[in-house]
Assembly symmetry: C2
Homo-oligomer: 203 residues x 2
Amino acid sequence: MIRIVIAEDHQALIDGVKLSLEYEKEIKVIGEANDGEMLIDLVVKLKPDMVITDIRMPKCDGITATQKIKELYPEVKVIAFSMFDQREAITQMKAAGASGYVMKNSSLKTLLSAIFSVNEGKHFFDDKIIIGDENSEEKIILSRREKEILGLIGQGKTSYEIAEVLFISKSTVDTHRRNILRKINVHGKTDLLRFAIERKYDF
Amino acid sequence: MIRIVIAEDHQALIDGVKLSLEYEKEIKVIGEANDGEMLIDLVVKLKPDMVITDIRMPKCDGITATQKIKELYPEVKVIAFSMFDQREAITQMKAAGASGYVMKNSSLKTLLSAIFSVNEGKHFFDDKIIIGDENSEEKIILSRREKEILGLIGQGKTSYEIAEVLFISKSTVDTHRRNILRKINVHGKTDLLRFAIERKYDF
DNA sequence: AAAAAAATACCTATAAATAGGTATTTTTTA
DNA sequence: TAAAAAATACCTATTTATAGGTATTTTTTT
């Protein structure tokens, strides 16, 4: 039996994950935290086998929480659960002692695979993550221009407005936009915006 | 001379605010922090007269940071700087010892007014904030259905998909959507989404 | 029971974003 | 210098969202 504590500030996501994990007899969710401080408290209280934690949370983020947890209980496995493929986050989570990294938009099967792998002492990093060579400092997924445009999208600007600001045609902005969607593997403005907004927080 | 430290995880916003404050001779921005921990360190190091801080930041949020700062240096004035009109945030910031609350979409004149008022020992809370009577626990701005729909929008669902989930027509969803935009006083999906996403974090 | 608020739903029209295609020029890297 | 990557730009078409209007039914509050 793998005893798990989930930390995630979106209760809806916790509910979803719990529901899916309930079908697995070998897994039991023994605690839920909505922020990093709650997570640490729960780990101290419950001594779980594993922690599945969001990276960005109120009060104390997942990286800091992981560091503390690993300091206190090195035997507790940690899987990071994040919205996007962000290599700094992966690097920092690895450094903090996490054994796995799963993206929220991956299937719950992926999460299950991660849980079982990590439980066996292995490491698990989500396939969806576009990994360069381990050495490369930071894999530039988006080009400079694409990052610039993504920033402007995050500021609420329309393609036409972005075109005006950058002195290029709307067609070009649309093309960049399409390429960004393809590169970060999302569809629709919601996820694009979530990426644009959260990438700044979610490390 | 009012010596100010700004804490905000969007460097672009810091730059904008700094630029505007530079024209004021009585104000000097003596430090910038990109997260709550940095903010506390800077306050200890620089002993500013005033702190302008975002509420949602990595590592340590603005509320916790404000509590710590007020504990250490009760004479340091704090102005909260947040994206939206969220009464829990205001309540918590007040409790933590903040003297003012300004929304990011207010004009910089508002921020200046806040700085000067707070510097004179007054309190300043942004006009844009829809305040009910001080007693009312939480002013319900959005109706239950509107909140539900906003949540689904935040999950990336289209109006049609939301209609399907709630067993109502797309027209109705669009009407609710329009009313939500009106009530929170924004235009366009970006701000709507920012509201939907950030209201969960930004307290 | 009457008034107010919330939820329902449709109409028209425009603006914005997505998705597919192609293609040229510029810049960077090997 | 040749190849690869990035930036530029247009075409078509569909879907989604915004903005204005109006109007009925249901629920809640006074």
